[in-house]
Symmetry: C2
């Protein structure tokens, strides 16, 4: 398998964690989101993935974009170790946390959105960072509320095995720290993040550990 | 089952279509996103769903938020008629289209985002509408590129049965029309939208057919 991505993309980071947790070897193909006016916007990447977003997973000549669809595909084709519980309501809880991060936090703070704020709406650096922190802090506070004190929350977001929810949470927190978000009132998600950081699958997926990492 | 939603929420609209396609009866509980400073932001809704977003599905005292998690839950607990194909790669294709709409088009044009643009960034009406059209048109053009000429595209997004992809596409197109987006160069998605519009499940889920509909 090949994974087209960018070291800092938190969507690519999710897929890297899942591949590692499932012990699936893959080849990294870097797509630099800033160089050449954005390598994701032009051929050959655009032909592989018309959404012009990373990541894309490739198996032979078959390609699949969209990180959440990739997670489900990996779960269906390589079910062990599982990243979803067995029970339908428990699976739903894990997916609700993961999807909330993927749909309702991450897209608002994507690189292309920050670029639009700066170049089209002429928003200054301070207001752009306030935008970032607003959505990240509001969103992560909701994740904290979903997890804190819930009987199904364990060492990880759901019980004592990592799931889709942790796979999405950890990259979002890495991003939030990069933008100096205030995580002080979020003891549950920072505790879970620290537990994940002890696992090689998460360590090896970190942006700084990627072949295209920059300072 | 109870579905907490708002007639114009395209996330709630997705779930309404899926419930109808699966012939599952449900009770609508309106949550007015504009009245009372936003009924989704306060008790009792906030206690039901700490993300303060609609929709939420409730069964007895169990509640599930996040439309994409709800779709997967309904598919797992009420598999017939299916809204996903059987083959893993085909399922992945359907999910990639659906998730691209849910993660990469819809959240940027959500009510809370448009409110932030207006009230916090003091963006004028014209620039706010340009923002909307930018993300909707760019995103829907990518969906058109994923569907047009693809051998798996049929009467609907995937073959001749409605799937998660159609469930997500139709509400997004309804929204795009409301904001006067240019859909002229998107013959495939507008053809599929017209095919869906012939089905009672889609008709009965439309915003104008809801008990809380306003002019």
């Amino acid at each position: 398998m090949k994974l087209y991505g960018y070291f800092r993309s938190s969507a690519a980071y999710r897929v890297r964690i899942a591949l590692n947790l499932k012990n699936l070897p893959y080849e990294t193909v870097p797509v630099h989101l800033l160089k050449d006016g954005g390598q994701q916007l032009a051929a050959p990447y655009r032909e592989l993935n018309p959404t012009c977003l990373v990541p894309t997973l490739q198996e032979g000549d078959w390609a699949l974009g969209q990180s959440m669809a990739i997670l489900e595909y990996l779960e269906e084709t390589h079910p062990n170790p599982p990243l979803l519980p067995v029970d339908a309501r428990q699976r739903a809880r894990v997916r609700a946390i993961a999807q909330f991060i993927a749909c309702d936090i991450h897209p608002l703070n994507n690189l292309r959105v920050l670029k639009y704020l700066k170049h089209e709406l002429k928003v200054d650096e301070e207001a752009k960072n306030a935008w970032y922190r607003h959505w990240a802090e509001q969103g992560l506070a909701a994740v904290e509320a979903m997890l804190a004190g819930h009987p199904a929350t364990g060492r990880y977001c759901h019980g004592d095995q990592p799931s889709f929810a942790d796979v999405c949470l950890v990259p979002q927190l890495a991003n939030a720290r990069r933008f100096n978000c205030d995580l002080g009132a979020m003891p549950t998600i920072t505790r879970i993040d620290a537990a994940c950081a002890e696992l090689p699958a998460f360590q090896q997926a970190a942006p700084g550990s990627q072949p295209d990492a920059e300072a």
